[in-house]
Structures are given as C-alpha cells and as structure tokens.
C-alpha cells in the first residue's frame, strides 16, 4: 500500500513538470550555454598550453557530463520544505501516514525522471552534434552508472540536511548561497579536481561534494584507477549523512512541536 502511495507522489511530481513542458527548450538552451562557455574556455586554454597539460576532447566530455549530472541532483529538496515551513503546511504533511523523508525522496525522483527525459537526454544529443563526446570504455560503464545513482542519493541527503538546518534558521536564503558556493568549487562542476593545486585538491577530496559531478565524470573518462574503491567511500559518505540527517530530524521534529505549542 505505502509503496503505491510513494509511487503516486513520484508520478504526481513528474506530471507537474510535464505541465511546464513548453519551457523545456529554455532549460535545454541553458544547459547548452553552460557547456558552451566551459568548452570555449577549455579550447582557449588548450590552444595556449602544452598538449600534455590538457586533453581537449577529454575536457569537452567532462563538461557535458558534469553539466548533465547537475540536472539529476536532488539538492533542491530543501526548497520544497522551505515554503511549507513558512506557511505551516508542513504540519499536514507530517500527519500523513507515510514517512516524510521517503515522500520527499519520491517527489524528487519524479523531478529527476522528468529532467532525465526532457532535459538531459536532449541536451546530450545536441552536445554530441555541437561538441562531440568521447565514449566510455566498457569496463567503466557500470561504475559510472553506480556513481550517478550515488550522486542522486548524496545530493538528496545534502539537500535534506540543509532543509533540516532550516528548521532552526527558518529561511534557506543564506544556506542556499553557501551550498551553491560549496558546489561551485568542490563538486568540480567546471574545473576538475585534478587541476586544483595540492591544498584545494586535498580539501575537495575530504568533502562529499566531489560525488555530485567530479567523480561520475572522472569515472566515465577512466581517470580513476580504482573506481569501486571510490564508490565504496561514497557509500560511506551516504551512510554518514544518513546518520546525521536522522539525528537532526529527531531534534527538528521536537523543535517543531515546541514551536507549535
């Protein structure tokens, strides 16, 4: 019964996006613009650098993949809580006989499904024509798919963590910007971590954000020697975040009751 309810929420959020399908082309253009900027910069750098420093076809593929992966992330889950927290609608959500985190997860899953079909796939096809993309080696395909799945899970947990912190701040404005900053640098969405200087590379490797863009692309390109080990570490991150989120959720719920009483 409950699984059917979750799937219904998933389908509902998918069809909600379908009603905005006329704007889909604007999102696709947006993706192409981002890829175009990155590809242009890499081409310019490739033209002025010795060839061993930068492999241009590799960097083009990297840009296309990270930009696409960004569309599949669930970090935005906190935005759905933010408005409900301020309007008080969250109470009626909490009364439903379902697990709230799972409800949020399936709601996001519907969004991701929509993004994949109507945004990522067309964007990649256009990018294939405009820029050209390297194909992965067969052995990297499975770890790449796992890394995509992991990116979704970790991004959901990070977004959910932000949402829970918002129970204390009551607004996500500052958190939104801070998360954006961390993602810009440490997810490697534009500059891959292998170009970072040692200090920043080490910092990036200590944080979970690398799994939201850098790791999937690097695995796709065969840049990571032991992909399964890295994926295992990612699972460790997911477990840690899950623990933190559960702890905070407990506290947040108590706090919410106090506030209401």
């Amino acid at each position: 019964m409950t699984m059917r309810a979750y799937l219904a929420y998933c389908g509902k959020s998918f069809s909600k996006h379908i009603s905005y399908r006329s704007e889909v082309w604007l999102r696709i253009i947006g993706n192409i613009v981002i890829m175009f900027i990155q590809v242009s910069i890499w081409k310019s750098l490739a033209a002025s650098s010795p060839s061993h420093m930068l492999n241009i076809s590799e960097m083009v593929t990297y840009s296309v993949i990270t930009t696409s992966v960004m569309n599949l992330l669930m970090t935005r889950v906190y935005q759905s809580i933010d408005s409900k927290l301020q309007s008080g609608d969250i109470c009626s959500d909490l009364q439903k006989p379902i697990s709230y985190p799972w409800y949020l997860f399936f709601e996001q899953l519907g969004t991701v499904g929509f993004q994949l079909l109507f945004n990522v796939v067309p964007s990649i096809l256009i990018a294939l024509l405009l820029f050209g993309i390297q194909l992965p080696e067969a052995s990297n395909l499975l770890p790449f798919l796992i890394s995509l799945f992991l990116a979704m899970i970790i991004s959901f947990l990070i977004g959910y963590l932000v949402a829970l912190i918002a129970f204390w701040f009551l607004t996500t404005f500052a958190l939104n910007w801070t998360l954006g900053a961390l993602m810009t640098v440490f997810s490697g969405v534009f500059v891959p971590i292998w170009f970072f200087n040692p200090f920043w590379a080490e910092l990036a490797n200590m944080l979970p954000f690398q799994y939201l863009g850098y790791i999937p692309s690097a695995i796709y390109l065969g840049k990571i020697e032991q992909p399964y080990l890295i994926l295992l570490q990612g699972c460790g991150w997911a477990a840690t975040l899950l623990l933190v989120v559960n702890l905070l959720w407990w506290k947040a719920i108590k706090r919410l009751i106090v506030q209401g009483g």
């Binding site: 613009v33 500052a174 970072f196």
Partner: protein, 260 residues
C-alpha cells in the same frame, strides 16, 4: 516621481529590512561565500594555466569584479520589480501600480528597491581595488572619468537586461524560465569574449551588448587594445536602458489591452 518621494520609499524598505537584521547579515555571509567561490574557481584555473586568452589573474579579477559590481548596482533597482512582475500579473496585483498618479515604471522601481546587494558590492569592490593595485594601469584624470562612466553605463546595461525579463512577462505572462536562462547567459562575460567563436562575439557586441559591461572597458583601461571606438563604450548603457524602458512601456500597454 520626485526624488524626495523615491527616497521616502527607500527609507521604508530599509526599515522593514532591518527588522530582520540577523537574517540580513547571514544572507550577506552566504552571498559573499557564493561569489568568493566564483572567483576561487577562476583563480584555481589560472593557478594551473597562468593565462586565459592572455589575461592573467589580476586582469580576470578586474573583469569579473566590474561585472559583479555593475550587476549589483543595476539589480538593486530592477531585479525585484522585474522578477516579481510574473506573480503580480498572475495575482492581479499589477493593477494597483497602474492606477496611481505616478508613472507605473518608477513606482515599481521605487517600491521594490532591493538593499540586498550590499554583499555583492563589498566583495566586488574589495577584489576590484586589489586587482587595480596589482595591475599596471596609468590612472590620469581621463582614465578615472572614463572608468566612472563605464561603471555607470555597465550598471544601466545590467538594469536594462533585467527590464527585458520583466517585459517578457508582460508579453507572455511566464518569465521565470526566461529569467533562469538569462542568468546562465550572463556568466559568459566573466571570461574575455575573445575565447568564444566569432558569431557569439558579434552577438555579445551588437545584439545582446553584454560585452560593453566589462570586456570593452577592460580592453581600454588595461591597455589590451588601441581602438579609438572604445572611448564610446559609456554611451551604450544609457541608450540600451532607454530602449528597454521603451519596450517595457509598450508591454504595459499591451497588458492593459489584454486584461480588460
């Protein structure tokens, strides 16, 4: 609308903003981190490759800072009113702004003035000053005046871009996705436009004149090009702003026609 009335609006907005002082300060910290990340990425890139299109890090910092600073100035005036238009139209609240005995455009600008760009201004001015101290720019009276005017003109271009987004919602109701797209496109001028293909350079100069915000002024001030035409850069902003306000007013007329 008189200047006195405009400042009266600003005073009221400031007062409401200060009711939530902690939020405001936290938000500023977040925004500064957000922009610091953008600078950091370019710094990391140049740490590895030294030059982008022949531009070194201080020059890139100058280019980005002028973009952020002019955006902050322009957006203080036009971001909130223009991006709120869609909701105002959907809820029918726009009519409130049309029946007052003041010009609806200036009325909207005044009542939605946004003080939230202090963080943008802080970080961009700090980086701007730092970059200028590390650059070998000859600052005569003429250069200083030219720089002031390019900042003014750049702010007008940034404000005008947002007015076009607002106009879009007057013509087509929904503008949110258009706004999202604009914010992605806007980032192209964080890099020297010579990195892009010729067609895009022409678009950024003659169709969407974003290159006049920071790239052309930087070419002149940083001695990267010796073209007399660069002296005309500060003229583009006011012209563009006038054009966008004209388009906006035409949109308002169209809106009234559709609404009745």
């Amino acid at each position: 609308m008189s200047v006195k009335l405009f400042f009266h609006f600003l005073k009221i907005i400031m007062r409401t903003r200060m009711e939530y002082r902690a939020d405001f300060l936290l938000g500023m910290v977040g925004q500064i981190l957000g922009y610091a990340a953008n600078y950091l990425i370019v710094w990391l890139l140049l740490n590895r490759f030294t030059l982008i299109e022949g531009w070194a890090w201080p020059e890139m910092a100058f280019l980005i800072s002028v973009n952020v600073l002019t955006y902050a100035i322009g957006a203080s005036f036009t971001y909130s009113p223009m991006l709120s238009l869609e909701q105002l139209i959907i809820k029918g609240d726009l009519d409130k702004y049309l029946i007052k005995p003041i010009n609806p455009f200036t009325y909207l600008i005044a009542s939605f003035f946004n003080f939230g760009y202090i963080a943008h201004i802080l970080i961009s001015v700090v980086l701007l000053i730092w970059s200028l101290r590390n650059l070998d720019v000859h600052w005569g009276v003429f250069e200083s005046i030219y720089f002031m005017f390019t900042l003014l003109s750049g702010s007008m271009l940034q404000a005008g871009g947002l007015i076009l987004i607002g106009s879009w919602s007057l013509y087509f109701m929904k503008s949110q996705f258009m706004g999202d797209l604009y914010f992605k496109i806007k980032d192209v001028i964080n890099y020297p436009i010579s990195a892009y293909t010729a067609v895009i350079q022409i678009v950024l100069t003659w169709i969407m004149p974003l290159a006049f915000i920071n790239y052309f002024p930087a070419l002149y001030l940083l001695d990267k090009a010796d073209n007399i035409a660069l002296l005309l850069v500060p003229v583009i902003g006011p012209l563009f702003l006038l054009l966008t306000i004209f388009i906006w007013h035409r949109g308002i007329h169209q809106y009234q026609g559709a609404g009745s």
